[in-house]
């Protein structure tokens, strides 16, 4: 099993994702330089957080043109799991791999804090070990995390189970007060129709150590490891 963490110029959560997978989850992991042309050796790709290309123009708008992104699109099309975290989520929407956009936080300010999110769909590679309506404590740190999508697409997404996480309070209620950035329907994370491409604003790689306030992020990584092990068993059958 091999994980790849893409490094764009300006990525700054690449090392944290690498550390979470390698040192905490005990997985094989490698950085993928944004000019790399071959990603076939990986089983799962992570687009980490940060400010790729300084987030100039628009968050993720330049990174999507990085040479590696063509390969990431093909990788995703082949059904393998891809997760974009924070800036990675923004890049995935810019690249058209995920629906909707991430606009500036309603407060117009950057927000860094621990939040609670509720699991909405357990039938995806990154959530299969979670229980339905489970509440995870995972931090956010972003200026542009206000998710928006038009009503028709939203309806379609709901129907397909593409809403993965919603901001909620400690009891799992998705109140307006629990919504840190103004996202439509408290949406914190989504997936594509096939379920293998995931985008989320909260940072699971920052929630893998109790000393830092939460290790709930491990559940998501454990899920994808479980999923990959399961699929490789099928492959070998």
């Amino acid at each position: 099993m091999k994980f790849g963490v893409v490094v764009f110029p300006g990525s700054n959560c690449d090392a944290d994702s690498y550390h979470a997978l390698k040192d905490v989850m005990g997985q094989e992991v490698e950085y993928i330089w944004h000019k790399e042309q071959n990603v076939d050796r990986f089983d799962c790709i992570i687009l980490p957080g940060g400010f790729s290309y300084g987030d100039y123009l628009r968050c993720g708008a330049i990174a999507r043109f990085s040479p590696v992104m063509d390969k990431v699109v093909k990788f995703a099309d082949s059904g393998k799991p891809v997760i974009g975290i924070c800036n990675g989520f923004q890049i995935l929407t810019e690249a058209g791999l995920l629906p909707g956009v991430l606009t500036q936080n309603q407060s117009l300010k950057f927000i860094c804090k621990m939040v609670s999110i509720r699991i909405e769909n357990t039938n995806t590679p990154f959530t299969e070990l979670c229980s339905k309506k489970q509440v995870l404590k995972i931090p956010i740190a972003h200026g542009d995390g206000n998710y928006y999508v038009d009503k028709d697409t939203l309806k379609e997404m709901e129907k397909n189970g593409q809403i993965l996480f919603r901001y909620c309070d400690n009891d799992g209620e998705t109140s307006e007060k629990a919504n840190p950035n103004g996202s439509i329907e408290n949406i914190a994370g989504i997936c594509n129709q096939q379920g293998n491409v995931i985008g989320m604003m909260p940072h699971p790689e920052r929630a893998v150590d109790r000393a830092l306030g939460s290790e709930d992020g491990k559940t998501l990584f454990a899920s994808v490891i479980h999923y990959l092990e399961r699929s490789s068993v099928y492959d070998s059958l």
């Binding site: 110029p9 300006g10 700054n12 959560c13 090392a15 944290d16 550390h19 979470a20 957080g49 940060g50 400010f51 290309y53 300084g54 987030d55 100039y56 407060s107 300010k109 950057f110 927000i111 860094c112 804090k113 931090p139 740190a141 200026g143 940072h203 790689e205 920052r206 893998v208 150590d209 000393a211 830092l212 306030g213």
Partner: protein, 730 residues
């Protein structure tokens, strides 16, 4: 105005230059001397006094004089640290001023070869009821956040204080801390005749022209016209430069490296040459420029950001180019190291300036008179009998908790990414931030502290208190203080009264450092912090780092479990002078500052640290602004549990609850351990008082058996949490 006056030089200084050169300097040379001999670059008013600081210690690997100081933390690792001011730029262009302040201090750290791992900042503004102050505050915080967040270095701590004296001259001091292997330290030295001198990173433009000189005069009505003296930051470029430099340091190509900050190329070239006892010969034609038609003067004094000067081993230029190319950055040979000790500037081969490098880097010291300020006599007098004792102490407590200087700074630090790099164990809002050092069981604790009001009333004791409080804050987390980086912010040093404040502050810091055993390893002096109406309070900010040997010892201020016993280490005294209570409740900023017995301070801190290391302490919190009652309230809020306490002593109730006596720490312990703690305190001959227990959902304080404070936790929390958000309208 003469030409030399226009570049900020005095007639004496001009004559000295003529004497040094044996001729009149040309325009470029004059400009170079102007920026280099400015107070900002030369420390000409402060240099002789700064020698008083204790700067050595067995763990000090690099003291003052380089881009940053470095201390050993064991395991083959060391931390680099430095604080720097960006006050004047922030006064006229708060967003860019603050942002580039952060950028500059980050470069100081990675120039040493260290990877930056934490940022802190210490901010001062006028009162928040003023609209322009709110604008400055909002933009400064945004500028700091946007820069640090983008580069991916967590902003983990700091302080924000408000006082009318900073209304027109806010203070923005940024501190950066980096981690480095002890063998990998880089220095800003140009050696090896013939070694190429390379300029790497961003292009050179017309921004930040003469910023150093601009920082060396008072702010005035004309200051707004100096906006072009403010640099523009590009944190994305900085991130690339950071990664490229750290990658370059893995090779053996680098002889010396220096960032381009104040006075740009002039400063970087003359300082590296001066340190290396060599010269540099460069041609401005090779400098990659942002705009066409830039004159040699503009190229040499531009303060365009995100640039570095690298002295490279001859023959390794291609290696440097390969790495910078990978990160999409310029790297150009602009000159070479020479043996003639001259800084030679050419334009397309023709010499346009040639002066001794050392003469630029080492400006003549200016001697200034000092005089006890006339304001002091009146101010220190405090007729305490004339100050009424309030009826309702609950109201006083809530008012103090909502005072901008005490209230929660969540509104500020939520705008900073304080978690990136996933090592921030104790996040902002505590006595000090704690960052774990991966691969070891260690952690470092970081804080910045200064009480400007104390320093105004008594610069010597006030400054010593800043050192003592910073150390106490670290000790409360379980850390042993290691080293100081100081940001000394004062008014115009040419005024004898301001210079007296400065002298006294240096004395106070030196004395505290000596007795507490903490060296000063780097720092910054910022003078001319005054506007037409007033000078700021003397504000010597103490940035301090401490070491926690074992992460299981990390201690936080919040009370933990019901039934735990609360003990005060130290002594309550009847001291109201200079307190936040006097200011908020009675509108007075006067009186004698609290006494400070540094020997007692040292013993209180040693005792607390020992108890923490022995695993006896559940929470520890420094008692400072707002006194005992505020400190107890903060421990309740942070632990989300109430407390019931009995304080007995014959003195004014308000002084007992809200006075700011020094050398006090509030700890909570398991009830069973009380005899152990008491015995320890007796052996050490330390004053202590058993105050009460952790319990319930309210803070109850009995003073001499009379219930003076009885407030539900929820009200306390609300008062403390909401004030800043409300003031900022969100």
């Amino acid at each position: 105005m003469t030409l030399y006056e226009m570049v900020g030089l005095t007639s004496d200084e001009y004559e000295l230059i003529v004497e040094l050169l044996g001729r009149e300097p040309n325009e470029l040379e004059l400009n170079m001397y102007g920026v280099m001999w400015s107070e900002h670059c030369s420390y000409k008013h402060s240099r002789s006094l700064l020698k008083e600081f204790p700067t050595s210690g067995t763990h000090v690997l690099q003291g003052p004089g380089e881009n940053a100081g470095i201390v050993d933390i064991g395991n083959g690792l060391a931390i680099a640290m430095k604080i720097e001011s960006h006050n004047h730029p922030s006064a006229i262009e708060p967003y860019q001023g603050a942002a580039t302040g952060v950028g500059g201090i980050i470069r100081d750290i990675f120039t040493m070869g260290a990877r930056p791992i934490a940022l802190l900042n210490s901010l001062r503004f006028g009162n928040l009821d003023d609209r322009h102050t709110r604008y400055l505050f909002e933009k400064v915080v945004q500028g700091i956040g946007d820069y640090g967040n983008c580069v991916g270095i967590p902003t983990v701590g700091g302080e924000v204080c408000f006082n009318n004296c900073y209304k027109e001259n806010p203070l923005v001091n940024a501190m950066c801390v980096g981690l480095i292997k002890t063998g990998n330290i880089k220095k800003g030295t140009a050696t090896g005749i013939g070694n190429p001198v390379m300029l790497v990173g961003s292009t050179t433009g017309r921004d930040g022209m003469g910023g150093a000189s601009f920082a060396s005069v008072e702010l005035s009505n004309q200051s707004l016209e100096k906006r072009s003296a403010v640099q523009v930051g590009d944190p994305f470029m900085e991130k690339l430069l950071l990664e490229a430099c750290l990658e370059l340091f893995e090779t053996d190509s680098v002889v010396g490296i220096q960032d381009l900050g104040a006075a740009g190329l002039t400063s970087a070239c003359s300082e590296t040459a001066s340190r290396g006892n060599s010269g540099i010969d460069l041609d401005v034609a090779f400098v990659p420029k942002r705009e066409e038609g830039m004159s040699p003067v503009e190229v040499m004094i531009s303060e365009s950001q995100e640039r570095m000067l690298v002295i490279v081993k001859k023959g390794n230029e291609a290696e440097v180019e390969r790495i910078f190319n990978k990160w999409g950055l310029h790297s150009v040979v602009i000159g070479h190291v020479t043996g003639d000790k001259m800084l030679t500037v050419r334009e397309n081969g023709t010499i346009v300036a040639q002066v001794p490098a050392k003469s630029l880097a080492e400006a003549p010291v200016t001697h200034t008179e000092s005089k006890v300020p006339s304001y002091l006599k009146e101010l220190v007098k405090l007729e305490s009998r004339a100050i009424p004792i309030p009826e309702n102490m609950n109201e006083v407590l809530l008012k103090l908790l909502a005072s901008p200087n005490i209230t929660s700074k969540e509104w500020v630090y939520q705008q900073y990414d304080y978690m990136v790099r996933t090592n921030t164990v104790v996040t902002p809002g505590s006595d000090a931030a704690v960052i774990s050092i991966r691969g070891t069981n260690k952690a470092i604790a970081l804080t910045t502290d200064c009480n400007g009001r104390y320093c105004f009333l008594n610069p010597k004791i006030g400054s010593a208190i800043s050192v003592a409080e910073a150390a106490r804050n670290l000790v409360c987390t379980g850390a042993k203080p290691l080293a100081i980086t100081d940001g000394l912010n004062f008014g115009n040093p040419e005024s004898p009264e301001v210079f007296w404040q400065f002298e006294q502050a240096v004395k106070g810091i030196s004395e505290a450092c000596q007795i507490l055993g903490i060296p000063v390893i780097s720092g910054n002096v910022s003078f001319y912090n005054e506007s037409e109406s007033n000078a700021i309070y003397p504000t010597p900010i103490i940035g301090m780092a401490g070491l926690i040997e074992n992460r299981s010892h990390i201690t936080t201020p919040g009370f933990k479990n019901k039934g735990d016993v609360i003990v005060l280490i130290g002594e309550n005294k009847e001291e109201l002078g200079g307190s936040e209570y006097l200011k908020v409740i009675h509108g007075l900023e006067k009186g004698e500052v609290p006494q400070l017995d540094l020997e007692v301070e040292r013993r209180v801190q040693a005792f607390c640290l020992e108890c923490i290391a022995d695993g006896l302490v559940k929470s520890a919190h420094d008692c400072s602004d707002g006194g005992l009652a505020v400190a107890l309230a903060e421990s309740c809020i942070s632990g989300n549990i109430g407390a019931e306490l009995h304080v007995n002593k014959t003195m004014r109730t308000d002084a007992l609850l809200f006075g700011e006596s020094q050398s006090r720490i509030i700890i909570s312990i398991d009830a069973e351990l009380l005899p152990t703690i008491i015995e320890k305190a007796h052996t050490k001959n330390l004053a202590y008082e058993v105050l009460g227990t952790v319990t319930g959902q309210a803070l109850r304080i009995y003073v001499n058996d009379r219930l003076e404070i009885d407030t539900p936790l929820e009200r306390i929390r609300q008062a403390w949490r909401e004030a800043l958000k409300c003031a900022m309208g969100k």
